[in-house]
C-alpha cells in the first residue's frame, strides 16, 4: 500500500510511473496532489488537462477528471472546459516546449483573458520525450540533439512572459523546493483568474547528459544553490544574484476573471430582453 496521499490522489494501478530514474516530474506531480489535498476541494470538482510531452503523462497517474490532449493545445481544451463548467477547478500541466513553443500563443492569450485556469509548467529545459531537442527554455549556449554546438537562442523567462501577458498569479519553484511547489499551487488554485506556476524540473537523461550536469542529485543541488527566494533577493546585490534565479510568489494581483465577465454579459442581455 503506498502513502495515504498517493493512495488517495493517484491511479495506483498505473504506478510505478515510467519517467526516467531521477526525473523531477514525479516530485512535482506529488507536490500538486499535496496542494489539492490541502485545498480540500472535492476531487470531482477538479479537471486536470495536459498536452503532449513527458510532463503531460502526469494526468495519467492522477486520479481526477483528466484529459490528455494534443501538443500545445492543453490550454485551448482547458478554456473550453472552464467556459462550459466555470464551477470546475481546471488545472493544466504542460512542459516547457508544450507551453512556450507550439502552445505559446494559447499561453499568452489565456494569460491575457485571465481565465480561471491554473497552469503548471514543468520546465526541464529540453524536449525529453522526443529525444533531447532544445526548447525555448534551453539556456543560451547549452546543447541539445538539435543544437550539438550550443544553442544560440535566448531562453524564455516563462514567469515574466506570463506576468506581462496578463496572468494574475505567477510563481516559480523547483523540484528541490517541493514544498514551495505545493504552497504556490495551492495559492494558484485559490486565485480566481489565470495562474501560472513554473516548476523547474530536471532531465538527467537528455538535458543533464548533453550538458554534463551530472546526476539527478547534482542537478537538484544546482536548484538548491541557484534558486533565491524573492524575499531574500530584495536584500541582495546584483553581483550576488549573478547566475541565480528567483523562486517564490512573483506576481499576485487579482483582476476580474473571464468566465465571470462572460456571465455578466449573459445576465445583462437576459435582463434587457425581458
Amino acid at each position: 500500500m503506498p502513502s495515504v496521499l498517493v493512495e488517495n490522489y493517484f491511479r495506483t494501478e498505473k504506478l510505478p510511473q515510467i519517467w526516467c530514474p531521477g526525473c523531477g516530474h514525479g516530485i512535482i506531480t506529488r507536490s500538486i496532489a499535496s496542494a489539492i489535498e490541502k485545498s480540500g476541494i472535492d476531487k470531482n470538482k477538479i479537471c486536470i488537462v495536459s498536452g503532449i510531452g513527458c510532463s503531460s503523462r502526469a494526468p495519467g497517474y492522477l486520479d481526477f477528471n483528466t484529459l490528455h490532449t494534443t501538443h500545445g493545445r492543453a490550454l485551448a481544451f482547458a478554456t473550453g472546459i472552464k467556459m462550459a463548467k466555470p464551477e470546475i477547478k481546471v488545472i493544466v500541466i504542460m512542459g516547457d516546449g508544450d507551453a512556450t513553443a507550439i502552445g505559446g500563443n494559447h499561453l499568452i492569450h489565456a494569460c491575457r483573458r485571465n481565465i480561471g485556469i491554473t497552469a503548471i509548467v514543468y520546465n526541464n529545459s529540453i524536449y525529453g520525450m522526443t529525444g533531447g531537442q532544445y526548447s525555448p527554455t534551453t539556456p543560451k549556449y547549452d546543447k541539445g540533439t538539435t543544437a550539438p554546438y550550443g544553442n544560440i537562442d535566448k531562453a524564455f523567462d516563462i514567469c515574466k512572459l506570463a506576468a506581462s501577458a496578463g496572468a494574475t498569479y505567477v510563481g516559480r519553484a523547483t523540484a528541490y523546493h517541493a514544498s514551495l511547489v505545493t504552497s504556490l499551487v495551492q495559492n494558484a488554485i485559490s486565485n480566481e483568474g489565470f495562474s501560472l506556476i513554473e516548476a523547474i524540473s530536471m532531465c538527467p537523461t537528455y538535458y543533464g547528459r548533453k550538458n554534463k550536469k551530472g546526476s539527478a542529485v547534482s542537478m537538484m543541488e544546482w536548484q538548491k544553490n541557484s534558486a533565491i527566494n524573492i524575499s531574500a533577493a530584495a536584500k541582495m546585490s546584483p553581483e550576488a544574484l549573478e547566475g541565480k534565479f528567483l523562486i517564490g510568489e512573483l506576481k499576485n494581483s487579482p483582476e476580474p476573471e473571464y468566465t465571470n465577465e462572460y456571465q455578466k454579459i449573459i445576465d445583462r442581455l437576459k435582463k434587457e430582453s425581458q
Binding site: V6, H25, G26, I27, S179
Partner: protein, 79 residues
Amino acid sequence: MKMEDIKAGEIQNEKVVINPAWCKGCGICVAFCPVKALELKNDKVVMVDVDKCTQCGMCELRCPDYAIYLRRKKNEKQG
C-alpha cells in the same frame, strides 16, 4: 498502519516504508536525507540506520517514484 496493510515486497521498519518495486535507484532520498540514514544497495534504497531517522519526511517529499514514505504513527488518522 497495520502489518496486513503492507503489500508483499514492501520493506518497513518503525519509521518508514520502502517499496523496492517502485524504486529506480536515483539516489535523491539518500543525498538529501539530513541524517544520512539511507543508502543505495543494489540500486535500491535501504535504511541503514533506523535510530538516526527523525521522520522529517524529506525522502517522501522528494522521491519521484513514491517508493519511500513515512509510516503513519500510532493513533494517527488515516487520510
